[in-house]
């Protein structure tokens, strides 16, 4: 049965390029109004965030045995959250969000990706949102794009890939936009018109140029910030500015998580960036923060044991961070698998207890009313949604 569904999925994903009207997902579309007042931001943490260091489960006695130099809990400045978990000191700027119920997390989540532990395949699968049985290629695209295909009333403006990084999560046939906070167009309006003519028969260039000219006309170029987190703050601020308008979905990346050696300062810098991006979103969104959900996802977790270089290597189960005024925060979601010898995946990694896609799916269900069947068959083909974690307020 599942096999059939997936073949159908692939076929329809290919079809949508040929004829939008023929696509089964699009028959009930209306193009009139904004799809929703709710907003979803997905941050891809590239390089595999060590979830056990970001949100330290110090209440598990095995953690201190397996890690002597990292994730050492409140004794080393981490901020206690609930008597079991502690927030990495470099995430301290997010502590007020936790207290207001606007920050939450789930440990031991993963995509279906297993064993080869390659960043690139792991990220590809995370962004494709598929299982291991489908090839990750252009036909599949990214799951946020399939969400767009399933949402009534979307336009290209509905979703933004923000920043210079390629966002495969939004790739696919549904129109969307990309812009970097510091971009601009230096061409007269006559020049823009001529270039539009030049590009006319080359849709990729033509469409990108048309969007560039329009967004540039609408956007004030921000003053160039300084400091190591200025770029991430600018990503958050720009995303917020579009989400305050007609956009409802934004995605961007934060890199720097591949902490094979000397993890302390390296993850510290990455966590600073994540904090800066989330706070810029909150500040920029103002009242709209209340209808916003932020999901910060990474391709996989890292080894439970420290390696010999004061770092951690590629693992399996990881952590999902959630933020926003729309979430039911201030709590941990999911089942803790434990860190004992028999509890680990392959004797080395945190055992995944839930598919990370289930959280994303329930978020979309809550935010945009996306139907369960649509989520399980088209957006995340083959996923079993399971019980509602009730992560939204």
């Amino acid at each position: 049965m599942i096999e059939l569904d997936r073949r159908l999925f692939l076929k329809s994903a290919a079809l949508i390029g040929c004829s939008a009207a023929a696509h089964p997902l699009m028959t009930s579309m209306t193009f009139a109004s904004l799809p929703s007042d709710n907003r979803l931001v997905v941050i891809i943490l590239r390089g595999a965030m060590d979830g056990l260091d970001a949100i330290q489960p110090y209440g598990d006695p095995m953690l201190a045995k397996l890690r002597r130099n990292i994730s050492v809990g409140p004794e080393d400045g981490a901020l206690d959250l609930d008597g079991f978990h502690a927030l990495h000191p470099r995430l301290a700027p997010l502590m007020p969000l936790w207290k207001k119920g606007e920050l939450a997390f789930a440990h031991a989540v993963s995509t279906p990706y297993r064993d080869k532990r390659s960043h690139f395949d792991g990220q590809d699968l995370l962004e494709a949102g598929t299982g291991n049985d489908l090839p990750v290629d252009w036909r599949v695209g990214g799951w946020l794009n399939r969400l767009l295909q399933a949402m009534p009333g979307t336009t290209a403006e509905t979703a933004y890939a923000v920043g210079l990084e390629q966002m495969k999560i939004l790739s696919g046939t549904a129109a969307h936009l990309g812009w970097a906070p510091r971009s601009s167009v230096t061409l007269s309006s006559q020049g823009q018109m001529l270039l539009d003519h030049v590009y006319h028969d080359d849709p990729m260039f033509r469409d990108a140029a048309r969007d560039a000219f329009r967004i540039a006309a609408e956007t004030e170029t921000p003053e160039r910030g300084k400091g190591p987190t200025a770029d991430e703050a600018a990503l958050g601020a720009f995303a917020a500015s579009r989400l305050n308008g007609a956009s409802r979905i934004a995605a961007f990346s934060i890199g720097g998580w591949d902490t094979h050696a000397n993890q302390g300062p390296v993850i510290g810098r990455a966590l600073d960036k994540l904090s800066a991006a989330i706070l810029a979103l909150r500040d920029g969104l103002g009242a709209n923060w209340g209808s916003t959900t932020v999901l910060a996802m990474t391709e996989f977790g890292r080894t439970v044991r420290e390696n010999g270089s004061n770092g951690t290597d590629h693992g399996t189960g990881g952590a999902l961070l959630m933020a926003g005024g729309a979430i039911r925060g201030g709590r941990a979601f999911g089942d803790w698998p434990g860190l004992g010898e028999g509890d680990l995946y392959a004797g080395r990694d945190l055992m995944p207890t839930r598919d990370i896609r289930a959280y994303a799916a329930w978020a979309m269900h809550g935010l945009f009313g996306t139907k369960r069947e649509m989520l399980e068959r088209s957006i995340f083909p083959g996923l079993d949604l399971g019980a509602d974690p009730r992560m939204l307020a």
Partner: protein, 456 residues
């Protein structure tokens, strides 16, 4: 429009047309041109990179005295050091612009990207330059296995993919320093198979990765002693990788590592994976299986003799059949633009701070390809959608507006530039639009920003 081989090859396999140099006449001339892309008189060596780091540490230590003079010296040194990446870009641009056929420098770009490294901190900037001069340039016209070994054992790669901190769990070094001992790190072993040779779809397992990681222990670089194989770091005993055993009882040897790289390089999966990557880079994002198969067959027959593999690609009908199936990556575009404008390598070498980064590195960053800073060891993306997005295209247009005046002082006549830059391949739309531009600057910009010029 029928196009002759020289112009097609210059656009697809080189850095485009130039008013200063005629395109290569045939495949033999293209292949002969590779020789010009070896290390030149300005090549950076690992020894120089060591000196750089040594000096860095010396000056940092000198600051312990807390004198203003020591601090100033250290800051000045650091500034120079941080500028090295832009100097590296300057060298690469100058050589690419001057390369008569362009094919050799395109290959340098391709292989340096295939074996991606990144100077993860400023003290390694010189080492990253040495990497291309020592591990890539000498081998682009040789055998793949030699480049594979040279790249994956080069100090820059050892640092980048954490091999430098990997120790055999049962090595003499690990036993001596119980407690704080360094352990095994699989990063290089994994990428050597997944990205550099076999490809992720190939039938290797986590066990092969681990065995290769154990075999690679012993590879080591330090700024004080340079590269050395250190048997005391190596996991004792033989390792079995893809069914073959390397090394024996007793001390490990560098020759065992070389043997493993040679065997992996000659495997059919490697021939297929790397041949396809070449075809995707030079010909089209979806090359025919037939093209890839004939390249891979030549690879297998010749033991990975690269010029013979290139030759098959150059001579294949798919090379001459289609134009503009690929989008030029930003570095490629920048070189092609300079060449078309008649800028010489010397003019690029004459640039200095602050104009140099303003005219080069800053544009590449905005176009999505910050020099020397690929996101991960899989290098830059090949597909057009990674490059032609609104913000990245806006940056290409901005570059097209700013470069000609900044580099030339006097703008070229757009009606002439369209011929020199595109050699008769321009579309009707572009030919129609260019004379209608409201200024000479915008006429020139339309050409450099056109899809005709941004594709190859």
């Amino acid at each position: 429009m029928t196009l002759d081989f020289p112009r097609i090859a210059a656009i697809r396999l080189g850095y485009g047309l130039s008013p200063l140099a005629p395109p290569a006449e045939n495949a033999a001339a293209l292949l002969a041109g590779i020789r010009a892309s070896g290390p030149d008189a300005n090549a950076v060596t690992t020894a120089r990179a060591q000196e750089q780091t040594r000096r860095h540490i010396e000056l940092r230590k000198a600051m312990a005295d807390d004198t203003e003079a020591a601090r100033k010296k250290f800051q000045a040194y650091n500034r120079e050091n941080s500028r090295l990446q832009v100097r590296d870009l300057q060298r690469r641009l100058a050589r690419a612009v001057d390369d008569p056929t362009g094919f050799g420098e395109r290959l340098v770009q391709f292989w340096a990207d295939h074996f991606t490294v990144r100077a993860t901190d400023g003290t390694h900037n010189a080492l990253a330059m040495a990497y291309v001069d020592e591990a890539i340039r000498p081998h682009i016209g040789g055998r793949f296995e030699d480049m594979f070994f040279a790249a994956d054992t080069h100090p820059m790669m050892l640092v980048y993919l954490n091999q430098n901190t990997s120790r055999g769990p049962n090595s003499a070094a690990a036993k001596r320093q119980k407690g704080k001992a360094l352990g095994l790190n699989e990063n290089l072993a994994r990428e050597a198979m997944e990205l550099h040779s076999l490809g992720v779809g190939a039938p290797y397992t986590q066990k092969d990765v681990r065995q290769l990681a154990e075999l690679l222990t012993g590879l080591f670089y330090s700024y004080s002693d340079g590269f050395a194989y250190r048997p005391q770091f190596a996991e004792p005993g033989a390792e079995t990788v893809l069914g073959r055993s390397y090394g024996g009882p007793g001390e490990g040897h560098l020759r065992d590592i070389r043997a493993a790289f040679r065997d992996i390089a000659r495997r059919p999966e490697t021939a297929q994976f790397v041949s396809r990557k070449l075809a995707v880079h030079f010909i089209s994002d979806s090359p025919s299986p037939e093209l890839v198969d004939v390249m891979a067959a030549t690879w297998r027959d010749t033991g990975g003799d690269l010029p013979q593999v290139y030759r098959v690609m150059i001579d294949h009908p798919e090379m001459t059949a289609g134009l503009r199936q690929k989008v030029r990556q930003p570095f490629d575009l920048m070189v092609a633009g300079m060449r078309a404008l008649g800028v010489t390598g010397q003019q690029i070498r004459d640039l200095d701070f602050p104009q140099l980064p303003a005219l080069t590195a800053n544009h590449l960053m905005m176009m999505g390809q910050p020099w020397g800073r690929p996101v991960g060891p899989d290098g830059w993306p090949e597909g057009p959608d990674a490059w032609i997005e609104p913000q990245l295209l806006a940056a290409r247009i901005t570059w097209a507006m700013k470069t000609p005046r900044a580099m030339l002082g006097k703008l070229p006549d757009p009606r002439e530039l369209i011929e020199t830059a595109l050699g008769g391949t321009q579309s009707e739309q572009l030919a129609w639009a260019v004379p209608k531009a409201e200024s000479q600057a915008e006429g020139v910009a339309l050409i450099l920003a056109s899809n005709d010029f941004n594709r190859r």
